[in-house]
Symmetry: C2
Subunit: 384 residues, 2 copies
Amino acid sequence: MRQVAIIGIGQTPVAEQWDKSIREIAGEALLAALADAGREEVDGIFVGNMLSGILTNQENLGTLIADWAGLRGVEAVKVEAACGSGAAAIRMGMMAVASGAMECVVAMGVEKMSESPMSETTAALAAAADADFEADEGVSFVGINALIMRRYMHEYGWKHTDFAPFSITAHANAMHNPNARLHETINQKDYTQARMIADPINLLDASPTGDGAAAVVLVAADRLRQDRKPLIIIAGSAAATDSIAVHDRHDPLWLSAAAESSRKAYAQAQVGPADIDLFELHDAFSIMSALSLEACGFAERGQGPRLGLEGEILPSGRIPIATRGGLKARGHPVGATGVYQIVEVVEQLRGQAGDNQIAGARVGMAQNIGGSGSNIVTHILIAE
Amino acid sequence: MRQVAIIGIGQTPVAEQWDKSIREIAGEALLAALADAGREEVDGIFVGNMLSGILTNQENLGTLIADWAGLRGVEAVKVEAACGSGAAAIRMGMMAVASGAMECVVAMGVEKMSESPMSETTAALAAAADADFEADEGVSFVGINALIMRRYMHEYGWKHTDFAPFSITAHANAMHNPNARLHETINQKDYTQARMIADPINLLDASPTGDGAAAVVLVAADRLRQDRKPLIIIAGSAAATDSIAVHDRHDPLWLSAAAESSRKAYAQAQVGPADIDLFELHDAFSIMSALSLEACGFAERGQGPRLGLEGEILPSGRIPIATRGGLKARGHPVGATGVYQIVEVVEQLRGQAGDNQIAGARVGMAQNIGGSGSNIVTHILIAE
């Protein structure tokens, strides 16, 4: 399989973009990525998106974006894997280039959520769960995560406050990211006193949604080895699923799809957890940070919160996470999130992360989760 | 790029399947394809679907289907390109195998439409058009096609009855297809007197929707050359887009994305229109049959209806179309349609099309259209 490199990145701020339609937001990120890559033409466009159909009755999103961005005629599709749609689109784009069917593609993610009433958005997000056996029974997505967190605390003896470092770190890091949704430091007291959403998940355990788009330009790596330093390679890319409904899992506290996809990605990249310089994980809820760190081999089972309490997730720690704010503070425009993560890893590996720069970052990992851990894509990027 | 073969096919009837949910319909086709291929395991599942989010609030459909079909853990995504979603999913699956990232995949399409009121379905289908500048202005999908047909009749001087052979042929062919939605022969008088929907499109110009799923199993061809006779190869696969809104086109009567994708597919397969033994085209409306035949080089511009009037589209004609009933009579479960087309071409190339068999079929083409010609995928299959 020929190796694929990322030669361009683009992103819009994650915000309530009332003055822009979904095509405008998408076009902005796409054109920024092309400009960054120094390209004007591509062979394909892969758009990660979850909610444009439900929220705005717009499908055929690939076509819409190609058309709007001045790339009319170019092959384009939408890829959907719930909140994991962004990374899934990158993986599709990567395989298209790896196959030789395409030489240069844009893989991107976009979501427009602000225009819909919050109740509609909450209902729409439940489409990531099992519609017949979870959503239709009235359990929202935050509700599912609350059940998982409560069980985790019971099983392993953690208190709610033990999760505080995940949120505090994300907010602190987002202060230096101009594209982040939230620019507001929080402390232990803020975290503890935040408004309850679904016990034990409070407002500061949960990530904000938003409008946003991010894009990358992918090409075959072989011809670029001489020209680009550093060259950012997709060294590992893998995906796996689990049961769509949490109640069907043998162990609802173990993200088997994270374990499986990271195992494959490590093997492809020939690295292990100890080699990862930063990890953009899917901290939609603080409990997910703990579970991801465990499934990917950074902590023992049930010990994820310890990494936070011991400062290991800080930019200076053993495994920095959410280095640009993560879902928690950069924001979570669901179908775009997986692409923001990759864009942020590329920024780090290029040394372009400003005050968020992880010193000497050479190997970065990103993990995007769809559903309650039911569809997970893991990527490992290496700067050559 | 390594060549990809289709070694298994599966399908459900296209019908109002009131007793089955979308996961059951999908699972049935998927497992049938695996059984046909003699496989039990796959590396990936690519699900073409347009409407599960809008109509049933179920996204994350790849995961749902993998889980239900006993393939929990396997990587799975949904691919969306409006009514072209099915062929787009096949193309994604093909590239995954061609890249070497996967060895064996299922590419499939599924749609569940009967449970929704007709008005909701009509609104949902408009999501294939430009939501802001077409759908929100009140033009339905059949309305857009009616505008195109009216203009075509005006421009080239055809009468409505000149389109009758497209519908009559499709209905006649469907009589021998047990999976077809409609088993009812029609004649010229039936066609002429059918109830008007959106002038000049009447009921017998339009294809019926429905519930259904179809699936294929894809593997690398190289290792199979000795074992399988005939081996069905994906010899050509290409996609292209056009403006999403019809009013943005230089010539709304020319399917440029059909021309471009078929041009590429012909070149890849090293064949031309004269070599095609049958053509499963996207006859969602009879006008689309004419436009597709023209764009793919089977008729001069504006002369598509002539092929019908001269009997060339019959099973015995120069270019048989809708050989198992087409969208018109097999039915059009939108996101699944592109996969039904491929399954039907494989049946023909294997010599398994029963009373619909095209004698000596060796090269078959399928073309799946998303939107009003805005996203088009063309495949050419060859029996080796």
